[in-house]
């Protein structure tokens, strides 16, 4: 099946992602920020689909949206938001932040303009039926050691969280 209206979908998904990301940091209510984060992650999943990586898109939805944002919302729900919403928001480092963002933006523009050689000339299109197999092969054959190290890191995080949350060890 041939893809349809690719530029439209790309710009739409990108706009949703950027606007939701801006809403994440601009909304006063943390639950609204979390919901905006959901929209960002879902549009990222759509972008993965456009890159012919259905497995990555599916896993993004399951893990990020269905797991991580759910846990974010757990914590947000357990704290008292009313007082937080009425507090005056201030930021003493806005000048440094602005300078850092400007430098980063210049860096991106410079890389894009001067470094055309790094980017591939044509979009590399992997066969999408094999996405699951290829990701599995890379995880478990080519990059097995980093995979195991990452899972060990996650185990350490879980153990640490349980230790901090228990009343008696």
């Amino acid at each position: 099946m041939n893809p349809v209206a690719t530029p439209f979908f790309f710009y739409a998904l990108a706009a949703v992602a950027v606007l939701s990301a801006i809403a994440v940091i601009m909304r006063r209510n943390p639950v609204h920020s979390a919901i905006a984060l959901i929209f960002t992650l879902l549009s990222l999943a759509g972008l993965y689909l456009m890159l012919y990586a259905p497995f990555v898109a599916g896993v993004q939805i399951i893990l990020y949206v269905g797991g991580i944002v759910v846990l974010f919302l757990f914590v947000i729900m357990l704290i008292n938001i009313d007082r937080m919403e009425r507090e005056y928001q201030f930021n003493k480092q806005w000048l440094v932040g602005l300078l850092a963002a400007a430098v980063l933006g210049t860096l991106f523009v410079a890389v894009y303009v001067k470094g055309q050689a790094i980017f591939p000339q044509h979009a590399v299109r992997f066969p999408e039926q094999l996405n699951t197999q290829q990701v599995g092969k890379m995880l478990y054959v080519d990059y097995l050691l980093p995979f195991e190290i990452a899972s060990l890191l996650l185990l350490v995080a879980i153990v640490g969280a349980v230790v901090m949350a228990k009343k008696r060890i």
Binding site: M1, N2, N29, V31, H32, I35, I38, P54, F55, A57, G58, V59, I61, I62, V65, G66, G67, V69, V70, L71, L73, F74, M77, L78, E128, Q129, N131, T132, Q133
Partner: protein, 425 residues
Amino acid sequence: MSDFLNYLSSNVTPGQAGAYLWVTIYILIIFAVASVAVMAMTWLERKILAHMQVRLGPMRVGPHGLLQPIADAVKLLIKEDIIPEGADKLVFWMAPVVVVITAFTTYIVIPFGPTHAVTDMNIGILFMLGVASLGTLGIIMAGWASNSHYPLLGSLRSSAQMVSYEVAMGMAVVSAVLMTSLTGAGAYGIGATAANSLGTLSMIGIVEAQMNQHVWFIFKFFPLGFAAFGIFAIAMVAETNRAPFDLPEAESELTAGFHTEYSGFRWSLFFMAEYAAMIAVASIAVTLWLGGWLRPFPHWLSGDPWGTAFSFFPALTFFVLAGMSFRATIRMPEHPYFKIQKTGLGIFGLVLGAIGLVLLVPPVRDRIQDIYWFTIKVAAFMYLYIWYRGTFPRYRFDQLMKLGWKFMIPAGIGVLILTALVGVL
């Protein structure tokens, strides 16, 4: 127009063929049938629970309460829509919408037949699990937006339970997906050759793997397939917040949990989404372990007499239902007040019999097979759900979480490891 009719001669799902109009038609049909199924489930649940508790259930609204779902729907639609005072209006509105959308989106990949699905994604089962996990978000939003402590507690408990049992479900699903690609050895290696053992995540591919390997995955690598099926069957009940895992929405404990503050149509959206999610996870179980649309013994009892005999089952089912209606008609009391109910039930029995007769016609008989067997298996699961509700006492929440984390997940991982070991030996 000829493009439109061209699709009928192809042998792929409309999503794969790119036939957008047929995709829309399939989606509309599935949505309509799912809504009707949800309404029928409400009636069935009340009747079956009542019969298990040696009472009658709804009998007044229509003959034997058959019009009760319509009465319920009308009541819910005309109820006043109350929004609590401090509630966050946007999130309060969005929560039932999210839950309903995710519950019904999973129907896109459910395979009712080899070509009878809306589309066949090559990550079908992953898509279903992912969209089912999105439903958790709707429940969290509902509990939080109600600005009241009972819904907040209920939604926290409910979403914690759903997240925990999703892991167990995932382990069971992965062990079933493993079985599509593993051949096993010795007695376990019967039927699965290297040719028909290509691993796949697509729902239609999983059922076709069962067909090519001549075994339903519940019986493959016995007892591992059975253990994986058991883990999934228990986890799916916990995932949809149904008894015996329904503490978050139990009336006596939490005054209806996360949907306490929702009234009228919004509550009916939650209700519909719960039943739709039940049907969706039951479809996953049927596809992965019970052979999807395959009739019993397609290879052992293959060929003409058996094929034709099995093809009479749909009509037979409807004739049995029509017979039950007629028997109930005859046993109606002879009072003049019951005349309308008697005629109504008689007409209902005649309609069922007419459908049965239509299903006897040979062209229809050939085409309805896949859908019928799939539906019958899912209906058996629905009966199991209602049976669980009528039989088991409720789990306390800490017992529930202990069961999920300390028993289901290790058991799931164990089954996964054993399946992988047995498969590659």
